[in-house]
């Protein structure tokens, strides 16, 4: 009964510690670490713990096999977790970094995404007359009607993929000040010329400066490369008046992006559109429009990544338990001797825990490093990024400091679970039997 209650208490303590730990921000952990160091250095019990831990660490090389099980096991969990979350983070960063608060996008009412929206030429003219739109030096409203299309082109891996083709006019550059030509020049209106996003250049076959790309039954020439650092890097741009007829779209558009006089002018702009009985459109700031598109997919990746990490983590916990029970068993005489000469239980418990968590920390750092080394600059693409357009969204994995910290937290939590039970076992070893053991 007593043993059962003690076991129960241990599990309750474990759950509470883990719950607190998962909610702990990095500075909380830093404070805890400083307190631990102070305790180790300044109190009697702390210095004894340090001594016992020192002995434990000194014997590590003798059981390198078992110790490496902890390190590698945890490195595996953290590596997979960080890599998967870095994928979701990269996708989300690309979409959330797209758009701004002082530009708005107008779509046909109810269409949800640019790819399913159709605006007639007359609509685009009316939209550009709404209040709240900024004007350029010549007094023209800065409104960019754009036509979003999908082209079927071969990727570098040989498979065909859908690529976003945006037909634009001269205002498209004005509503996106962060988008710059980094090589070549802008296409000339009225010609079969293309500007290609930086992401597309690396991913699609035959996309190089000066090369010809077949859209429809015409050959288009790549004359420039642009970089916006966001979702537009996954697009190619052409003259809207020229590409519209090729795709049988006449002079219709998918959306109108406008530059607002200020972020606060959005309400005025939206109200002006709603008040016009000739228009049936939805307006949203571009920032919100792109951020909304990323919600579902990143959540799914986070959910899957965490599930996989939990299952792998359970495996790693048992590996750590095995190794640390074995370590405690081989050191049982030494621990019993310490207890016999008057060491209390606390230094023994803490030293075994410390040893496991140091190994876990090494595993966590190793795993995060491997994830960073492989995926830190990894470029991938998916068709699940932009609503229902099903075109390729090219993005980079992002191994952020927050993700690395998250991974290390996982590592320490696994180390804590794997070390706690063997530590308590070590402290409760009956001194007499342990001393008699060979």
């Amino acid at each position: 009964m007593k043993r059962f209650l003690r076991g129960l208490l241990l599990i309750v303590v474990l759950v509470i510690v883990l719950a607190l730990w998962s909610a702990l921000p990095w500075y909380g952990a830093a404070i805890a670490a400083i307190l631990l160091v102070l305790w180790l250095a300044l109190t009697r019990a702390g210095r004894r713990t340090l001594n016992v831990t020192g002995v434990g660490l000194a014997t590590l090389p003798a059981r390198w096999g078992a110790s490496s099980v902890i390190v590698i096991g945890i490195a595996g969990v953290v590596g997979v977790l960080v890599a998967l979350l870095a994928m979701g983070e990269g996708l989300q960063a690309t979409l959330q970094g797209t758009g701004s608060a002082d530009t708005a996008i107008v779509l046909r009412g109810g269409s949800q995404a640019e790819s399913s929206s159709v605006l007639l030429h007359a609509d685009t003219v009316l939209i550009a007359q709404a209040a709240g739109i900024a004007r350029d030096a010549q007094g023209h409203a800065i409104a960019s009607p754009e036509l979003l299309l999908a082209a079927n082109l071969p990727k570098k891996n040989g498979q065909d993929a859908n690529l976003s083709v945006r037909g634009v006019g001269p205002e498209a550059w004005a509503v996106r000040p962060n988008l710059h030509i980094i090589a070549g020049r802008k296409f000339k209106p009225g010609t079969l010329e293309l500007d290609v996003g930086k992401g597309v250049m690396g991913q699609f076959e035959g996309m190089t400066m000066g090369s010809k790309v077949k859209l429809g039954n015409q050959l288009w020439t790549v004359v420039g490369e642009f970089d916006s650092g966001d979702a537009f890097n996954s697009e190619i741009w052409a003259d809207m008046q020229t590409i519209g007829p090729v795709y049988h779209r006449g002079s219709s558009a998918s959306s109108v992006t406008v530059k607002l006089t200020s972020p606060s002018a959005f309400a005025q702009f939206k109200a002006a559109l709603a008040a016009n009985p000739q228009l049936k459109v939805d307006a949203e700031t571009t920032h919100k429009y792109f951020a909304d598109q990323s919600g579902g997919i990143n959540k799914l990746i986070r959910y899957l990544g965490t599930t996989i990490a939990i299952i792998m983590g359970i495996g790693a916990v048992f590996g750590a338990l095995n190794s640390m029970y074995a370590a405690v068993a081989t050191r049982s005489r030494e621990i019993a001797t310490l207890r016999a000469v008057g060491f209390r239980g606390t230094p023994v418990v803490v030293s075994v825990l410390l040893e496991t968590m140091l190994l876990a920390l090494a595993g966590g750092v190793l795993g995060a490093f491997i994830a960073w080394a492989i995926f830190g600059h990894y470029t991938a693409s998916t068709s699940a990024g932009g609503g229902f357009s099903f075109t390729q969204m090219i993005f980079q994995f992002r191994v952020t400091p927050a993700l690395v910290w998250n991974g290390i937290k996982w590592a320490l939590a696994i180390g804590f679970i794997g070390g706690l039970f063997p530590a308590v076992r070590a402290a409760r070893l009956p001194v007499t039997t342990a001393l008699r053991e060979l």
Binding site: G65, A66, S68, V69, I72, G73, G76, G79, V80, A83, L84, R108, G109, G110, S111, Q112, A113, S115, S116, V118, L149, A150, A151, N152, Q159, A161, N162, L163, V165, L215, G216, N217, V246, Y247, H248, K280, L300, L304, I308, I311, M312, I314, G315, A316, F318, G319, L321, N322, S323, Y325, A326, A380, S381, T382, S383, A384, F388, F390, T391, Q392
Partner: protein, 387 residues
């Protein structure tokens, strides 16, 4: 088999260690079962039974581009094609965008082409004669508690009505099931009449999203696709024809390289598992050196010591692995019921079990071989004297 009790006894020698190791093996194979189920679902989607004898003709320009209705009769005349249907992606929303399900406007002969769907013949007839008739899959009907005769309102995202309204109403006239157990996904789809759709939509009237053809035999696929694409070659609406399977495979590969992700994760999992289990086996043999020496003294050959240790390692992995796979079967079953089509998962069946068993045996051998060799090469005198 004669020595099974010896192997079993060796495993029970340190119960805690055996159980902990098995728990790690269990976790690894639980993950394997679940991930491989997802991978298989994605891989199978491109190898469906009904998808091999169906072709899809889309605009070569790209996704979402329309084709003229006039192509239908010309495609029908291509030898090898037995029926030609046409479809428009509607993309309507039922109540909330979160309720996403595929809904398409289809020609009246669609169910003669779409093999994956099993719609009772009398319901096919009602569908063909009801102006705003629609049919839905059994899973979808169950999800929203629809029954025949219900009115289903959809909000258009792409296709407004002539007056600019996005509100479309359909009458449910049939509920279909999937013809093949592996193609249950289609039971989440809704189909309605293309004629009603075309008459009421605001623009692009008389054009279709894609053609879907049934061919006499899968062997003719490449010839038929060349012949269909030749019809509109060098026109302003060139086409690209492929089998429904090839289309699905290409679509999914653009979503993500699921195979690569799963392989990467499982490589990390099994690498750590081999290290962990290998360490357990090394410990187990190290502890038993005197016992192994005794076995050899009483006449066990080097070979039988080797196989004893190998059998122990394989048994350790297989027990943990089988429990993990059984658990994976249950979890996948539960997830499929809970998530529906959000995440495609295949049943943990024969092929997944097959590869799991092979993996278990291989891992068992890999982790067992070094400790087993150590046991085999051990010198009786040294071992007995504790050197």
């Amino acid at each position: 088999m004669k020595y099974f009790h010896l192997v079993w006894g060796a495993l029970l020698r340190r119960k805690a260690r055996t159980i902990f190791t098995m728990a790690s093996v269990l976790a690894a194979f639980l993950l394997f079962g679940m991930l491989d189920s997802v991978r298989t679902a994605f891989a199978d989607a491109g190898h469906s039974v009904s998808g091999a004898s169906q072709m899809i003709t889309m605009s070569k320009l790209g996704l979402g581009q329309q084709l003229p209705l006039s192509l239908q009769s010309r495609i029908e005349s291509v030898p090898g094609v037995t029926a030609v249907a046409y479809v428009n992606w509607f993309g309507g929303i039922y109540q909330d965008p979160k309720n996403f399900f595929p809904n398409e406007a289809v020609s009246e002969n669609y169910f003669a082409v779409q093999d994956a769907v099993n719609l009772p013949p009398d319901q096919v007839k009602t569908f063909q004669s009801t102006r705003d008739g629609a049919v839905v899959g059994a899973a979808l009907a169950k999800k929203f508690h629809w029954k025949i005769g219900d009115k289903i309102p959809l909000q258009a995202t792409i296709w407004p009505q002539k007056d600019g309204s996005n509100a479309w109403n359909f009458t449910l006239v049939g509920i279909f099931t999937a013809r093949h157990a592996t193609e249950k996904g289609i039971e989440n789809a809704m189909f309605f009449r293309w004629k009603y759709f075309d008459e009421a939509r605001q623009f692009a009237n008389g054009s279709v999203g894609w053609y879907q053809e049934k061919i006499a035999s899968p062997d003719q696929a490449s010839r038929v696709s060349t012949a269909i694409d030749a019809i509109s070659a060098n026109s302003d609406h060139e086409t690209k024809t492929e089998t429904a399977n090839a289309f699905t495979a290409s679509f999914l590969s653009q979503l993500a390289n699921i195979g690569l992700i799963v392989t990467g994760i499982m490589a990390a999992v099994f690498f750590t598992l081999i290290l962990l289990t290998g360490n357990t086996m090394a410990q187990a043999v190290r502890e038993r050196i005197p016992e192994i020496a005794v076995l050899k003294t009483i006449g066990f050959t080097n070979r039988s010591v080797l196989s004893l240790v190998l059998a122990e390692a394989v048994l350790l992995v297989v027990i943990g692995g089988v429990i993990g796979m059984l658990l994976a079967m249950m979890v996948v079953g539960g997830l499929k019921a809970a998530l529906g089509q959000t995440l495609p998962m295949a049943d943990v069946g024969g092929s997944i079990w097959g590869s799991a068993i092979v993996l278990m045996i291989v891992i068992g051998f890999v982790v067992g071989v070094l400790p087993a060799l150590r046991g085999m090469h051990l010198k009786i005198v040294d071992a007995l004297t504790g050197r």
